[in-house]
Symmetry: C2
Subunit: 146 residues, 2 copies
Amino acid sequence: MNTLIYGNSRDCEIAFYRAFEAADLSAMMAVWAEEDDIVCVHPGGPRLTGIEAVRESWRSIFAAGARLRLRMTEPLVTATLQTAIHTLYETVSAPAQTRNPISMVATNIYVRTQRGWRLQLHHASAAPEPRQGDATAGAGQPPVLH
Amino acid sequence: MNTLIYGNSRDCEIAFYRAFEAADLSAMMAVWAEEDDIVCVHPGGPRLTGIEAVRESWRSIFAAGARLRLRMTEPLVTATLQTAIHTLYETVSAPAQTRNPISMVATNIYVRTQRGWRLQLHHASAAPEPRQGDATAGAGQPPVLH
C-alpha cells in the first residue's frame, strides 16, 4: 500500500504536512512507520499508540471537515544514522479565517526503515500566544506547574 | 561538573524525575546532554533550546517553591543503539493536595554520549481529564483541531 520511499527525514516531514493540509488519510498514513510502537499526541490529547489508533485519530480530524493551512517555522534537526529528531513551530490557520492562527510546537521523530524514512512519533502542543520570538533567548512565560 | 554516568536510558529517566520531585537544579541539569541542541517543552510552553534556556526554565519552576509528586505510568520505550524514545504519563500532584492531580503525557528522548545516556529532549503536554484508560484502545476524545 505504501509505495513512496522517503530518502531522508525532511522529505518525510514535507509529506506529513502536505497530507495534513490536504486532509488525505491515505497519504497521511503512508508517512508513518508501520509499527505497533508509533506514537501520536495531538494538542491536549492522550497518547495514541499503534497504527490503528493513530489512523483513527487522523480520520476523525479530517472527517471534521476543516481544511487547515499550516506554516512550519524554526525547524531544528538532530540526527543519527537511524533516527532524526525534528522540532518546529506549526502555525495553524483556517482559510476562512474565522479565528486567529494558532501556534503549536511539535516534536517529530523519524526512523530509517527498510522502506526509507518514516514517522515514528508526533507530539504537538499549544505554544504561548503571542509567541515571544525565538525561545532560545529565554524561557518566555515560565510555566507555573512543570 | 556532571559526575554521574547513566548506563541506560531508564536510569537517566529515573534521575530526571527524582531531580524534578526534589526540585534539585544541579541534579536536574546533570541528566541533560550538554549540547546546544537539547530541547525542552513544558506544558503549554514554548520550545526551549540549549542548556542555558533549559536551565533557566527549571530554575524558575523550582524557585516557585511547589514541591510536586510525580507518578509515572504506562511507559513505552523504542530504542536503537544511540537513541531511546520514551513516552509515558505523568500524574502530577502537590503534597498539600490543594488541587486535583494533573495528568500529562511526556516524550523523553535519551541519547548515548561519551558520558553515558543523557536527556536530549523533554516534551510534556496536558492530557485529557479524566483519562479514558489506555489510549491504545481508541482515540478517546478526538481533538477538534489537530
